[in-house]
């Protein structure tokens, strides 16, 4: 038992030390830094659906600010929010849903405003050639159809629930996937006739899948907020990165990937 106490104390000491190191940055100026003023590493926690665009924008940001290195940690927005609330040393958080951003704001880890930088809408993804002859949202309500949806606990599932309610359809999926990429995989492997995913996912999948737009998608727009963390180890670079993501150069990259930009 004594050993356990010692271990617990050691762990606690380590945590406190890490926290102090994390807090040691006293430069909390949130004004956009001019080129050359920022340096070091900026750690960005971003929703998995941003992987492709952020990787590209990270390179652009590094090119614009020599001496700065951008490190990304991608994952589900809720998992990232929990990691930040447990003291993960991030500089910037880009969430795929306002709800997950709110979890971090509620604990005081983010105090800056959280502007929306892109939004995303649902689209029906079908395998190449549309073997299931899917024509619209109504096919998801037909018994005997093989369709995949996201679980209602994750953002794409919540958005899907909303459009089905508006359309008055009771969906009958064969599976409720744990994230949007898993739902898309079931389409690319031709295991389901259709899945409800984001427009950006259909674009990213290339010619393996085809997308079908439907009018109700405008009623369930998913917005992505971004903000620097209150205890960002590299506050100046964090502010600069957030500004960069809101800028015109980034908007072009997002639009090309299928995102809507404000």
């Amino acid at each position: 038992m004594k050993t356990i106490r010692t271990l617990a104390l050691t762990a606690a000491a380590l945590t406190v030390t890490a926290g102090l190191v994390g807090c040691s940055s006293d430069d909390n100026s949130s004004k956009p830094a001019a080129t050359g003023q920022i340096s070091g590493t900026v750690t960005v926690f971003a929703a998995a659906s941003l992987t492709d665009t952020f990787n590209q924008l990270g390179h652009d940001f590094e090119a614009a600010h020599p001496g700065v290195k951008v490190v990304f940690s991608y994952g589900g927005s809720s998992a990232l929010a929990q990691q930040i609330n447990q003291g993960a040393p991030a500089d910037v958080f880009a969430s795929a849903a306002p709800a997950n951003m709110k979890q971090v704001v509620d604990t005081g880890e983010i105090t800056a405003p959280q502007p929306t930088f892109v939004s995303n809408r649902l689209e029906i993804a079908v395998p190449k050639g549309n073997p299931g002859h899917i024509s619209g949202l109504a096919d998801f309500g037909k018994a005997g159809s093989r369709t995949a949806l996201c679980a209602e606990q994750v953002p794409c599932g919540a958005a899907a629930k909303q459009v089905f309610q508006i359309a008055g359809i009771t969906p009958q999926p064969v599976t409720r996937e744990q994230d949007v990429k898993a739902a898309l995989t079931k389409v690319t492997l031709d295991e389901v006739d259709a899945a409800l995913v984001y427009r950006t996912d259909v674009q990213a999948a290339g010619d393996k899948v085809e997308g079908i737009d439907f009018p109700e998608s405008a009623k369930a727009i998913n917005t992505y907020p971004i903000a620097p963390l209150a205890k960002a180890p590299n506050a100046a670079a964090a502010a600069a990165f957030v500004d960069f993501i809101k800028g015109d150069q980034a908007k072009k990259v997002f639009a090309a990937a299928g995102f809507d930009t404000p």
């Binding site: 356990i4 271990l7 998992a79 679980a151 606990q153 409720r176 295991e191």
Partner: protein, 271 residues
């Protein structure tokens, strides 16, 4: 308990401290996270969470699928273990290595591999779908297949080890007394390695019960059909971490209970 340990201490004399310290560290490392679950568990809302329909459904499905998967592993795995231990096969070492691949394969990759072979458009699955209109993915049978795929190596390795350690002279004696090979296997070989079979089956069942990656990839997630406890835990974490902790504790209690009862029944004395 303490009387027995005191006796053992008297017999063994002093234990080397150099081993005790890392051993205690290892024990703490394994137990403290579990204690953390208990400390953080929402005890006040526990009853109403426990008796919700979803939890019962997921738990029933988990127990059913893990047990069926273990059954399949026993029927197919024991002969394979016997083949590896007893038969004069060319390239036996390679086969043994291949059998253990699902052990080191990330379960998600195992799930994708199963989809590519047994899915609706898979190498084998496409014929089943075209001829009979059946497809394993997104069905309870798919869950059992995914669990069996991941868990079978545990059973095979355990039984093979027991077979190799067993004394073959009894089998030889049975054969000289006129027993057929099948009779010898059933009445001599199998009883002699029963503890190894039980240990392997227990490991196999526990692995199947906790299976997540291959299940969610191959069988998908549909409440009542393919949502086992680990899937329910993962999804609960997205919205309600407290519910996830409760579900995890249920799984923990059930598995520990089953393992302890099996131990009482089968594994008395040195195995």
């Amino acid at each position: 308990m303490s009387g027995a340990s005191a006796r053992r201490r008297a017999v063994r004399g002093r234990r080397p401290v150099i081993l005790v310290l890392p051993a205690v560290c290892a024990l703490a490392f394994l137990l403290v996270p579990l204690l953390g679950l208990l400390v953080r568990a929402p005890w006040r809302t526990m009853p109403e969470r426990l008796f919700s329909a979803e939890v019962g459904q997921a738990l029933r499905l988990s127990l059913l699928c893990a047990t069926l998967a273990t059954g399949i592993c026993l029927v197919l795995g024991i002969p394979l273990a016997w083949l590896l231990a007893r038969a004069q096969l060319p390239g036996r070492g390679l086969i043994r290595a291949l059998v253990t691949v699902p052990l080191v394969l990330p379960p998600v990759v195992g799930g994708v591999a199963l989809l590519l072979v047994l899915g609706r458009r898979g190498l084998v699955g496409q014929y089943a779908y075209d001829w009979f209109g059946v497809a394993l993915p997104f069905t309870t049978a798919g869950v059992v297949v995914a669990e069996a795929f991941v868990a079978m190596p545990f059973l095979v390795i355990s039984v093979e080890g027991a077979l190799r350690a067993a004394d073959t002279r009894y089998e030889d004696a049975a054969a000289t007394l006129g027993a057929s090979p099948w009779y010898t296997f059933r009445r001599v070989t199998l009883p002699s390695v029963l503890p190894g079979v039980v240990a392997g089956a227990v490991l196999c069942w526990a692995r199947a019960l906790g299976e997540f990656g291959a299940t969610i990839t191959f069988a998908g997630n549909f409440p009542g059909k393919t949502t086992t406890m680990p899937l329910a835990v993962y999804l609960a974490l997205e919205t309600d971490p407290d519910a996830a902790i409760v579900l995890s504790l249920v799984l923990l209690v059930v598995s520990v209970g089953v393992l302890v009862s099996l131990r009482e029944r089968w594994m008395r004395g040195p195995v």
